[in-house]
Amino acid sequence: MRHCKKKQDKTIAYGGAETKGRTITPLVFLIPAFLLVTIFVLYPVVSTVSLSLFQDSKFVGFNNYLELFGRRSFSQALIHNGLWILIHLPLSVFFGLLLAVLLRQVKGGAIIKSIIFLGMVIPLVVGGILFRFIYDTDAGVVNALLRFIGLGSIARSWTFYPDTALISLIIGTIWIWTGFSMIVYSAGLEGIPIELYEAAKIDGASRWKTFWRITVPMLRPATIVVVTMTLLWVLKVFDVVYVATFGGPGGASTVMAFEMYLDAFQAFNFGRASAIATILTLMTFGFAAYMVNRMAKS
């Protein structure tokens, strides 16, 4: 007892210093990370935003932004990014969930999942080259399949035509990205307590109802992760477009990141490229903040 009292006195005596220490110590540990983030993230972001207000070292205010929105190629790119989101996002989420649920109950499902996930291991530059071959008139597997089922008359190089270039790329990347959503959903499924399914079974719930009332709501955090990552990836998609179609033909598959590349490294117009980068950053930041907020709430 005497010993305890002594310890308590000591705590009271040094309480202020300890609290101070508790505040300072984490800050000290944060310094390296803070420095790195400042140098490699904050400074470039601020520089890019500032550069977007200049043209040939002259301050031009928001002229670069106004010029962008007056340009046909940028409007096209905005629409195309929107189409990527509208088509790629729901399909990759749907197929990921479907495969995760189906393969969970299949013998050897883990092996099939690994094979599907291989798509994620392929660098997108390689993916872009693969798409050119897959969709090629003579050498492509897509056209070979069409010929096999008697639709050879519509065989063509799908990435060469304005009406099919963008959708060909989107479908190709769904194949690549589905592996990611499938793995996240598989992990999510493992986290659902088995008791919930048992209780539903006792209550006489059908499998369909169990899926909608238990599986889908319990996978909400996984869905938020998949949607967030997919959205961010789709907004900054570049490499596959660059390699497979170079944004063409006639800008039919161009996207914002590709427009930024053309302005920066073809026209060497860094002001306009920075304006696109700023718009992209704001969009991705907006989406990410919204989704992270939802994730925190869920």
């Binding site: 008139t137 060469f160 304005p162 170079f246 063409g248 033909p249 006639g250 302005d263 073809q266």
Partner: protein, 415 residues
């Protein structure tokens, strides 16, 4: 006892990590500080046979001067973007760069990244057009012409024409008749092969139409920006081209080198290409190859490979020596003898040329034919990629609506 074993293991692991880090640091320092082999680094767009030929020229230079030269070949996009990016950062890994884009060179000169070469070459030794393309408004010359490639017209296989009783056309109507005849031949997919990759083969073909149907002056005016892409004269040329595309005379664009192979396999009748086609391994027998110019044309696009020296080079004197060597008749004669290219220096003797190269030289040397710069290379910048991209669109969708949209897009970018 167990605790002691744990501590010892941890200690050994810590020592191992420290040793690995120290060894890594020593290797890194050695790598950075190791003595670099003395010599020059040259960047160009060449690979394969073209690079092998150029290496022979560089070997001659090394033999004569004792200066070692390392050559690095890049793709169009890598060179177009990589070099300006380095220069804008105030550095250059290359001591000399060879590139065929006059507008790009003048942009770099304007930004003060290049060494002026006015006093390093004798301007009168080259065709005026070659020099004027890389001369600024103050009369300073920023690049030395090395070799040139003529884009003389459509290449064909003599035996194929002979076997099918085809004749070289003398007028545009005869040209269209020829295409219709080729279309009827068994095994032919389309009469004209269309090359693709980044887009220059389509732009070369289109420029032949611009000069052949609109005159060389139209191409020069488009380069200068004094004629609108939406003007009637340009639209008329493109409308003729569009009609041929719509008639199915051109193939779907495909990788340009694989198209050379298909052309030689008689899947296509003719192929518009530069004189370098004579050096390509896909051509089985070069003596069976010939070309005919665009009927009644008064212009031909000449692409010149220029040598430039980045001002950030650490080997300025040696780089100047190499530039002067490449711009001289001796190096160019060696390159010309290896085939596929034309010299730019007037002192390169006619005897250096092979039969086909001589034919190209004779064609472009006619007084009725004007050598004009390659359009997209001369305008450069974002226009170049837009031009390539819009032509791909026209090739696969040759409707009047697409043509209007293509010309408007080109005018928007050029304007």
């Amino acid at each position: 006892m167990k605790k002691n074993a744990g501590v010892t293991r941890t200690m050994w692991m810590a020592i191992a990590v420290i040793v690995i880090v120290v060894i890594g640091a020593v290797i890194a320092v050695w790598y950075v500080a190791r003595p670099q082999p003395a010599g020059l680094t040259v960047y160009s767009l060449w690979s394969g046979d073209e690079e092998a030929n150029f290496m022979k020229v560089l070997e001659n230079f090394t033999e004569q001067t004792g200066i070692n030269v390392t050559h690095i070949g890049f793709s169009t996009q890598e060179l177009l973007i990589g070099v300006p990016t380095q220069l804008k950062a105030g550095a250059s890994l290359a001591d000399l760069v060879i590139a065929p884009w006059p507008a790009w060179i003048l942009d770099l000169a304007e930004d003060e990244h290049l060494v002026e070469v006015t006093d390093l070459i004798t301007a009168t030794k080259y065709p005026t057009g070659y020099i004027n393309s890389v001369k600024d408004t103050a009369g300073k010359i920023w690049a030395a012409p090395f070799k040139a490639s003529g884009k003389p017209g459509f290449w064909y296989k003599k035996s194929f024409f002979q076997d099918n009783n085809l004749e070289v056309p003398g007028t545009y109507q005869e040209f269209k008749d020829l295409l219709a005849d080729i279309m009827q031949i068994d095994g032919i997919e389309e009469p004209i092969a269309s090359g693709d990759t980044v887009g220059w083969p389509l732009s070369d073909t289109t420029e032949a139409f611009i000069m052949g149907l609109g005159g060389y002056q139209l191409q020069e005016d488009l380069i200068a920006g004094t004629v609108n892409w939406t003007s009637t004269e340009v639209r008329d040329v493109f409308e003729d081209l569009r009609q041929l595309l719509a008639a199915g005379y051109f193939s779907e664009p495909a990788e340009w080198q694989s198209q050379v192979a298909k052309f030689w396999d008689e899947k296509y009748g003719i192929y518009f290409m530069g004189s370098w086609i004579t050096t390509m391994s896909q051509i089985g027998d070069v003596s069976d190859l010939d070309f005919f110019p665009f009927p009644e044309t008064d212009g031909v696009a000449g692409s010149v490979d220029y040598c430039i020296i980045p001002k950030y080079t650490e080997n300025l004197d040696q780089a100047k020596e190499l530039l002067q060597y490449l711009a001289g008749a001796e190096a160019q004669e060696t390159m010309v003898k290896l085939g596929g290219f034309l010299g730019t220096n007037v002192d390169v003797p006619d005897t250096a040329y092979g039969t086909l190269d001589k034919k190209v030289l004779d064609f472009i040397s006619q007084t009725t034919v004007h050598i004009v710069p390659d359009l997209d290379d001369a305008v450069g910048g974002r226009f170049q990629t837009t031009f390539w991209d819009q032509l791909k669109l026209l090739w696969v969708s040759p409707t009047t609506g697409t043509l209007n949209s293509v010309l408007e897009a080109l005018q928007e970018e050029a304007g």
